[in-house]
Amino acid sequence: MPYPTTLPTKRFLIRYSGIFDFAGLYQLMADWMKARRYWFQETDYKHKVNPGGAEQEIDFDGERQITEYIKENVHVFIHIWDMTEVEVERNGIKKKLANGRIELIIFGKLELDWEGRWKGSKILEFFGDFYNRYIMRKTVEDYWDKLHYRMIKFQDMIKQFLDMQSKGNEYAGYLGDNV
C-alpha cells in the first residue's frame, strides 16, 4: 500500500442550538483563516426558506503552502436549520441575532507533492513513495500534529464564541505560539 499523499486530520463536530451571532461567527472564522495566511474560499452556499425558519448550508476552505512539497487545507462545513432572526438588547444596544440549530464540521488536510513532481511514471511514483515513507515521514508527521492542534484551537475559538459550556483548551500552549 503506497504512503498516502493526502493526510486528513480528525473531524471535529460542534452542534449548538439557541441564539447566536451568525454574522459574527462567519467573520471570526474567515478572519482566523486570513490571519494565518490561508487562502479563503467559499465553495458552497445554499439558502432555503422553510415554514419553520431558514435552512443554510455553507462550505468554505482555506489553503496555504507550507513548503514547495506540502500544502495545508482547512475545511469548514456549516449547516443551520430553523434559523430565524431575533432582536436582542445587550448593554442598551440592540442587535439582530440568529436563533436556530447550527452544526459545524471542521477538519484539516495535509497534501503532499501538490506540484505533482512524483507523478507521471511508475518509477517516479516508486521513488515518490520511498521519499514520503522514509525521508519525509517525520516532517510530515510533525506538520500533521501541528495542523491537528491548530484545528483544536480553531474548534475552541468557535466554542468560545458560542459561549459553550465545553469552551477552554488546556493544550492552548502546545504549539508554542499565540495564534
Binding site: R11, F12, I14, R15, R101, I152, Q155, Q165, E170
Partner: protein, 171 residues
C-alpha cells in the same frame, strides 16, 4: 486500521447536584495533557431547552505508547438540566451550575495502529500469532497501563465532583 481490543467496557459515573460544567471538562482536558494524551473532541453538542441546558460530548483521546501499541479512550459525557444557581461559599457568593451528569468510559488497546501488518493475509496471521503468544507479556503490561490510566482519570473526576471514591489499583 489495526486491531482495537475493548479492555474496559462502559465504566459509568453518574452524579446529580451542584457542579461546574466547564471546570469538569477542563479537569479532563488537563489530565489528558498531563498524561501526554492527544486530544480529540469528536462531538460537542449543546442545546438550550426549557428544562435547562443539555451538553453532550464524545472525547476520543489517544496515546501512542510504541510504534505498535496505542492507548485509546472513548469518553461519553451527557449533562442535562444544567441551570445556574447562586451559592454562598465561605461568605462569598458564587454562581455555579446544577445538573445531572452521566459519563461512560471505554478503554481500547489499539495494536498495529499504522496497519503495517494488514497488507497481506499472511501478515495478518503472523500478527495474531505474535500478539497471542510472543508478545503476551507486553500486551498484558500495556493493558495494565491502560486500565490504570482510565481509573486514574475516573478518580480525578470523582475528586473534582467530591463524591465517594475508593482507590483502584491494578497489578
Amino acid at each position: 486500521m489495526g486491531e482495537k481490543r475493548l479492555v474496559i467496557d462502559q465504566l459509568k459515573l453518574t452524579y446529580e447536584g451542584l457542579l461546574d460544567v466547564n471546570g469538569l471538562i477542563r479537569t479532563i482536558d488537563s489530565w489528558l495533557y498531563e498524561k501526554g494524551y492527544d486530544k480529540w473532541d469528536a462531538k460537542n453538542y449543546e442545546q438550550d431547552l426549557p428544562t435547562g441546558k443539555e451538553v453532550d460530548m464524545e472525547l476520543l483521546p489517544w496515546k501512542k505508547i510504541t510504534d505498535y501499541f496505542e492507548n485509546m479512550f472513548k469518553i461519553r459525557l451527557r449533562i442535562s438540566n444544567v441551570k445556574d444557581v447562586e451559592i454562598e461559599h465561605n461568605g462569598v457568593k458564587r454562581i455555579v451550575q446544577k445538573g445531572k451528569l452521566m459519563m461512560i468510559f471505554d478503554a481500547y488497546q489499539h495494536s498495529d495502529y499504522e496497519g503495517m501488518w494488514e497488507s497481506k493475509p499472511i501478515f495478518f496471521f503472523f500478527r495474531t500469532l505474535f500478539d497471542k503468544f510472543v508478545f503476551k507479556k507486553t500486551v498484558a503490561y500495556y493493558e495494565r497501563w491502560l486500565v490504570n490510566d482510565l481509573y486514574d482519570l475516573h478518580s480525578r473526576i470523582q475528586r473534582f465532583l467530591n463524591i465517594y471514591r475508593y482507590e483502584k489499583r491494578i497489578g
